[in-house]
């Protein structure tokens, strides 16, 4: 069993492949294993992609982040990339992460895959909104 060496032969960029094969910050199995302050979900398995972000927040800063994804390779890679981009950022900074930032970080997703990265960003937004709503009440 060998892994392909020539990443240019692969359907997506080397960075996408790398994040797909070695995703960062994913949450394996039972969600309750990761104590978190807020979560946000976006997408629908019916459409083929769904992402869920779990955040640990201290002093308005994302101290830890985990995610789950049902979706294609670029959905997994873009959620992984987003988790890297958001970790350690304040909530306001994290909200400024755009779909384009994720796309740039991964070295460009194919156009028809772009909605995947937008989706991850929305899950993060939803999690932060939930957190702020909780605090307001």
């Amino acid at each position: 069993m060998t892994t392909k060496q020539e990443s240019q032969d692969w359907v997506y960029s080397a960075k996408v492949k790398e994040h797909f094969l070695n995703p960062r910050n994913f949450l394996m199995g039972d969600e309750s294993k990761f104590t978190h302050d807020t979560e946000g979900i976006v997408g629908n398995p019916i459409c083929g992609d769904q992402m869920k972000m779990f955040l640990k927040i201290k002093d308005d800063k994302i101290t830890d982040i985990k995610w789950k994804t049902y979706g294609c390779a670029s959905a997994i890679a873009s959620t992984s990339a987003l988790s890297q981009l958001a970790k350690g950022k304040t909530l306001d900074e994290a909200l400024k992460i755009t779909a384009k930032d994720i796309d740039d970080y991964l070295g460009n997703l194919p156009k028809h895959k772009f909605h995947c990265s937008v989706l991850g960003h929305e899950a993060l937004e939803a999690a932060i909104k939930n957190y702020r709503d909780q605090k307001d009440h």
Partner: protein, 435 residues
């Protein structure tokens, strides 16, 4: 590389390659010309035509060369432009979409195995003879049932490309003829995998393609029964007795002929039944046994017990025992192709499975999932059989060839359980029956 995507396209046979190189090296002229090089090309083409006709039990003059299965299918729907036609909901897009674009198209529903039920024909009878009002709901793409009046054509594929489900075409063609419609079958996937005799099936049109049987891409054929209505799709030349204009693709035709000759000479349907079906069944049994929350799609699932919500180890053992009881490679009634296995894994998305197999183990399989196709829609075939988008997004297809070995199956099973487990563990979807 372990290639398990033969239903998408198959490697060229050495015999087909040689036939093509002979043509390219010896420059035959334009087959329509009267000079010697032209005549030589003509001979090559007619030999190939005879070999292809023999493989499906047709007369050579009933075979028209086309650029492939899609053109053959488009040619048929074009004959019936503006008329009422019925096509199965699991046809290849080249039938389904071209029929929708050109004809008053009714879609024939299938059951969960992908099979057409006789009840459809009963409803045609009701509507065409009694001219009763529409009684069934229709989607936006299809006409109301009343348009079944004067149905001109029914098109149902011999074997489905995604599921491998085989239809009882002889029976369906007979029913179609009883109701006054002509019958077309797309036999692209079935060719070389199961015996086909167009006279025995009594069909009017049959689509076949070279590259699914080890011939080149870019050449196919359409069987048109003697005396059946025909309108050319491509006009502007006398080739194929005016039925398909365009200079003959002599090298491609030679390659197709050689592949057809190989299939006939080696009786490939028998080889598939004896050698490949058991490997496919082993892969199916092992997946059900070793991978929790896996399900077989299509007619093959009949042979394996339905999944229970019992603990995987127990359910797997039961399933395996049942599967072994039915270890009979040559069944009396063939209901699925010997080389196709469509399977879905709860909570694991198809394209990710495909790309992990590709990147980690150099194993090539296929998926009908939305992301892979890039059109945002799940496979219309799995949707027609299950009406469950999650199943459609979570399904993959293995398609085996005559070169597939037990080692290939073992290699898949070395890595697939881990890939599925990882995807299920990081999935937002909870498996049904999971705690």
């Amino acid at each position: 590389m372990i290639y398990l995507d033969y239903a998408a396209t198959s490697p060229i046979l050495p015999e087909a390659k040689k036939a093509m190189l002979d043509v390219l090296d010896n420059f035959p002229g334009n087959a329509s010309a009267l000079h010697t090089p032209g005549h030589r090309a003509h001979e090559i083409i007619e030999t190939a035509r005879a070999d292809i006709a023999r493989l499906i039990g047709a007369q050579p003059h009933e075979i028209i060369f086309t650029s492939g299965g899609s053109e053959s299918n488009n040619t048929v729907t074009n004959i019936f432009a503006g008329q009422s036609v019925a096509v199965s909901a699991i046809e290849h897009a080249s039938v389904l979409e071209s029929a929708r674009a050109r004809c008053n198209c009714i879609e024939i529903p299938v059951n969960k195995y992908g099979e057409i039920k006789d009840s459809f024909f009963e409803s045609i009878k009701r509507n065409s003879y009694e001219n009763s009002a529409a009684s069934e709901p229709c989607n936006d793409r299809c006409e109301r049932a009343s348009s079944r009046k004067n149905l001109s054509l029914i098109s149902i594929m011999l074997a489905n490309n995604e599921l491998g489900t085989i239809q009882d075409i002889k029976h369906l063609a007979k029913l179609a003829h009883q109701y006054g419609a002509l019958f077309h079958t797309d036999a692209t996937q079935a060719l070389g995998k199961i015996p086909i005799n167009v006279k025995d099936l009594d069909v009017d049109y049959t689509t076949i393609s070279a590259h699914k049987i080890g011939g080149p891409v870019g050449i196919g054929a359409l069987y048109v029964k003697d005396g059946t209505p025909f309108t050319p799709l491509i006009i502007g030349g006398h080739q194929e007795h005016g039925k398909r204009a365009g200079t003959y693709a002599t090298a491609n035709i030679a390659g197709f002929g050689a592949a057809a000759k190989y299939a006939y000479k080696h009786n490939t349907p028998k080889l598939y039944a004896e050698k490949i079906a058991p490997l496919r069944d082993e892969l199916a049994s092992r997946i059900l046994k070793e991978i929790p929350f896996s399900n077989i799609n299509g007619s093959l699932s009949k042979r394996f017990s339905s999944r229970t919500l019992a603990p995987p180890a127990v359910a797997g053992a039961l399933r395996f025992a049942r599967a072994r009881k039915r270890e009979c490679p040559l069944e009396k009634h063939l209901d699925n192709l010997p080389n196709i296995l469509n399977v879905s894994f709860e909570a694991a998305e198809g394209e990710s499975i495909q790309l992990y197999l590709d990147a980690k183990a150099d194993i090539a399989i296929s998926t009908g999932s939305a992301c892979a196709a890039g059109d945002g829609k799940p496979s219309h075939v799995i949707m027609a059989t299950t009406n469950d988008a999650e199943v459609a997004h979570s399904s993959i297809r293995f398609s085996l060839g005559l070169d597939t070995t037990k080692q290939d199956i073992d290699e898949v099973m070395k890595i697939l359980p881990d890939i599925i487990n990882n995807l299920q563990q990081i999935s937002t979807i909870k498996m049904k029956g999971a705690k």
